[in-house]
Amino acid sequence: MNMVFQINGRDVGIEVSDSELLLDTLRHIGFSSVREGCGVGACGSCTVLVDGKSVSSCLVLTSRCNGSSILTSEGLADDDPVVSQFIKNGAAQCGYCIPGFVMMVSELLSENPIPTEQEIYNHLEGNICRCGSYPEIVQAAMDASKAKQTSKLTC
C-alpha cells in the first residue's frame, strides 16, 4: 500500500507491503539508529516514538503508521537535553542500545517531567544495556529532567 507519514518532522511517502514491520521500513530508508536486538519487543533497541508514544518498531506494522508522526533519535534537536545529559554522563559503552534508552527517557520526561528514581526504573525496565551502563543512564535521565526544568525557568 502507499502511505504517508512524518519522520523526524519530514513528510515521507512510500510504498510498503501489508506485513512490513516499522523497524525494517525505517532501516531501509536510512534511519539506522533503529536496531534489531531481539525481534520480540524485549530489548528496546528498536524503540521509536509514534505520535509521541514509545513502541518497539519490531512489533509494529508500518501500515498502521499511515498519517502518524515518527521520531527517532536522529530527529532530536541538537541541544536536546536528554541527548546532552547522556553525553555529559558518558551514558554509553558499545552504544548499540542507547538510542532506545534516549527515546524512552524522552517519552518519560514528556509525560512526567519530574520523575522519581523509581519512576525512571519503571519506565526503563524493558530496555537492556548488556554493557551495564545503567548507573550512567539513570543519572542522565535525572539530570535531563533537571535541565529541562531549568531551561523552562529561564525562558
Binding site: 506485513s19 508514544k53 514509545s54 512489533l59 509494529v60 524512552m104 517519552e107 524493558g126
Partner: protein, 283 residues
C-alpha cells in the same frame, strides 16, 4: 510467508471477512501475533486489522459500566485518571504488563483474546467482575470473564466473533484491592505467580473477598470467599485454602509446580494484607 492484511472500515465488514477467511486472525495491537509469527507458531495466516473501524478505541462510562473498546491500549488503561479513581486494581494490573512500549501497542481486546494464563490484566478484571462483549455478523453476546477462559490458550471466542468491548460493572462495591505479581527470574520477567484481591462491602460491612490468580493454572482463575465476621487471620486462612483449590500450575523455566504453589500462597497473602489496609477503619 508474509501474512495478508485486511483493513475493514466497519465492524460489519470485519465480521464478514472473518466468516470468509476461517484462518484469519483479528489484529489488534499485534504484539502477541508478531511474536507468534516470528517464532513460526503462526504460519501463513491472514490478519484482519481492526484499527480502521471507528469507535473501537473508546473508554466510556455509563451508570452501570465502564466500557472499554478493544483497541484501547494497555497504557491508556494504566494512565487514565478516571479508571485509576474508580478501578485502581485495573490500573495497577495494566501498568505491570511487559514494558511501556508493549503497553503503548498492545490492546485491551487482544490482551483478553490472547488467553495467556500469565497475563496480568485478566486477573484484575476477574476480581472486578468484568465481562467481554463478542460480536459476530449476526449476534452480539456478553460473556462473564469467569466463563471466558476455557482452557490453556483457549477462550470462549467462537469462529467469526470479535471482542468488541470489555465492561466493568460499577455495582460491585470494592473498598480495598491489590494486585501482586511475583517473578522468579529478572525483575521484568513474566510472573511465576500473580494474585488480585478485592474486598466487597455493603451496608453491613465487608462481606466477600474476590480472589483471582494468574500464572498458577492453565487459565486465569477466580473464586469468592465469604468473609463475613472474619478477622484478617481468619480471612487469610479461608482464602488460602480456597486458593490452593484453584492452583494447578504448569512447570516451566520459571519454576516447578511445587515452587509455584508456594509462591502462589505468598502472592495471595500479600495481596490480601495489602487490600485489607485499604479498608477504612479496619473492618
Amino acid at each position: 510467508m508474509r501474512p495478508n492484511v485486511f483493513r475493514p472500515q466497519s465492524l460489519q465488514e470485519a465480521c464478514s471477512l472473518l466468516e470468509e477467511h476461517e484462518e484469519a486472525l483479528v489484529y489488534g495491537g499485534g504484539t502477541a501475533l508478531q511474536i507468534l509469527l516470528k517464532q513460526g507458531i503462526l504460519v501463513g495466516s491472514s490478519f484482519i486489522d481492526i484499527s480502521g473501524i471507528p469507535g473501537l478505541a473508546e473508554i466510556s462510562f455509563t451508570d452501570d459500566f465502564l466500557r472499554v473498546g478493544p483497541m484501547v491500549t494497555l497504557r491508556r488503561m494504566e494512565r487514565s485518571e478516571e479508571i485509576r479513581e474508580l478501578f485502581s486494581l485495573a490500573s495497577s494490573a495494566y501498568a505491570k504488563v511487559a514494558n511501556p512500549r508493549v503497553r503503548n501497542t498492545a490492546t485491551v481486546g487482544g490482551n483478553i483474546a490472547h488467553g495467556d494464563y500469565r497475563l496480568d490484566p485478566p486477573v484484575a478484571l476477574l476480581v472486578l467482575g468484568a465481562s467481554v462483549e463478542l460480536t459476530s455478523r449476526n449476534s452480539i453476546r456478553k460473556v462473564p470473564l469467569e466463563e471466558f477462559f476455557v482452557d490453556f490458550q483457549v477462550t470462549d471466542i467462537s469462529a467469526g466473533e470479535i471482542v468488541t468491548a470489555v465492561e466493568i460493572p460499577r455495582s460491585i462495591h470494592i473498598v480495598g484491592s491489590s494486585f501482586v505479581k511475583l517473578s522468579s527470574l529478572s525483575a521484568n520477567d513474566w510472573p511465576s505467580a500473580s494474585a488480585a484481591v478485592g474486598l466487597m462491602e455493603n451496608d453491613n460491612g465487608v462481606h466477600t473477598l474476590r480472589l483471582a490468580l494468574g500464572a498458577l493454572a492453565a487459565t486465569p482463575v477466580m473464586a469468592t470467599v465469604d468473609i463475613r465476621n472474619l478477622n484478617l487471620d481468619q480471612t487469610l486462612e479461608a482464602s488460602l485454602s480456597k486458593a490452593m483449590e484453584l492452583m494447578d500450575p504448569i512447570a516451566d523455566v520459571r519454576g516447578s509446580v511445587k515452587y509455584k504453589l508456594r509462591l502462589g500462597r505468598v502472592a495471595v497473602e500479600e495481596a490480601i494484607r495489602s487490600a485489607w489496609k485499604e479498608v477504612p477503619n479496619g473492618r
